[in-house]
Symmetry: C2
């Protein structure tokens, strides 16, 4: 199963063996914290089943989810120490019951040093994930809350390929960096204008064009 | 002089020749805009003389400098299209009279495709520069303006290895993402508490420990 890791095919048989022996399997229950800021640098996290949320945390504990790691994907920003780059206050949580595999930081570091292809692919992935973080931060700095909510609703319905999806107001607040109360108020406004309909823990986008108009 | 570019030594003689022929020399006067958002993806920018500022721009035109490129350094985020990553509203300006060399995006792309070492070093550099952007954005999101000003004053005096440095209130406002008026007010407060002294276009840090206290 480690073959799914992007650089696996570039490893020598010895390096593959080292990776296979080092990977640690970790089952995670929904809402479990996989990595908490202040923990030592964990390494590469690979999601075998389920889904993780990667969040940043403010001093006051406000949590903002900046990207998600789906089944078959991995997270490299949890190995910031190996990248000799910024370690920021991050938090990784299982969004659903999940199974993950962790390649510990020292082994990852060893593979990056011995194999330039590993280094190349790891940095490439880090650039993509940093882009995701930046995009979210830029939205927080420069977009109004209403625009951030519209962006989230449009992207989420596209991502799920369905106008209806399950999400609590608390979760949505985390994605757009606001509070549950503010999200509830804005969603009710959108519902009043016929843009969305709200169910128990679900949101249905009725009028995506109206959401596009919010973004104008 | 192209030897100073991080991946130059990894190029074949043919690739070195291609790079040497492609590099475009551009003199820039102080305050000149080297790259404006909306311009096509420029490529790798190498600073031969002087200093550039890399800024992000809000919809309302608020400008925030996220990192600087000093003599002998290069900027890769001006080649976001080549990295297949986020192109964000960025703005590159000469802080002083400068001389830069640009490796155009198509040539950079060609070298990255033909030479994995180029790809590796380019992505590595992008990770480092993205970290700088993230760090600034995180400060903007999570730190108070006063803490951002204290951070700027401490870092700037360390970077210049002198308690005294030249910076207008307008420039400082750009570094911390605020307005000139707010910076002037906060600097006057710091001056009143004996933390800094202010001259014509210069700031002198008198009490770095008091600035550290602000960050507590």
């Amino acid at each position: 199963m480690n073959r799914e890791i992007s650089f696996y095919q570039y490893l020598t048989p010895e390096e593959q063996d080292l990776l296979d022996r080092s990977m640690q399997q970790v089952p995670c229950r929904k809402s479990q914290v996989v990595h908490r800021h202040g923990d030592s640098c964990v390494g590469l996290i690979f999601v075998r089943k389920g889904r993780l949320a990667f969040s940043i945390l403010s001093e006051e504990g406000r949590e903002i989810t900046v990207f998600r790691i789906e089944k078959g994907e991995s997270c490299i920003l949890s190995a910031a120490c190996v990248l000799q780059s910024l370690e920021f206050e991050s938090h990784i949580t299982a969004e659903v019951n999940s199974e993950i595999a962790i390649l510990p930081a020292p082994t990852l570091s060893q593979l990056m040093n011995s194999n330039p292809d590993v280094e190349r692919l790891v940095y490439k992935q880090a650039v993509i994930q940093y882009s995701g973080v930046l995009r979210t931060m830029q939205q927080i700095i420069f977009l109004s809350l209403e625009k951030r909510l519209a962006t989230f609703l449009l992207e989420e319905s596209q991502r799920r390929q369905s106008p209806s999806f399950s999400a609590t107001h608390e979760q949505i607040a985390r994605y757009i960096g606001s509070s549950r109360e503010v999200v509830t108020r804005m969603l009710n406004q959108f519902a009043g204008r016929g843009i969305v309909s709200l169910g128990r823990g679900t949101v249905t986008v009725l009028d995506p064009e109206a959401l596009e108009d919010v973004l104008m």
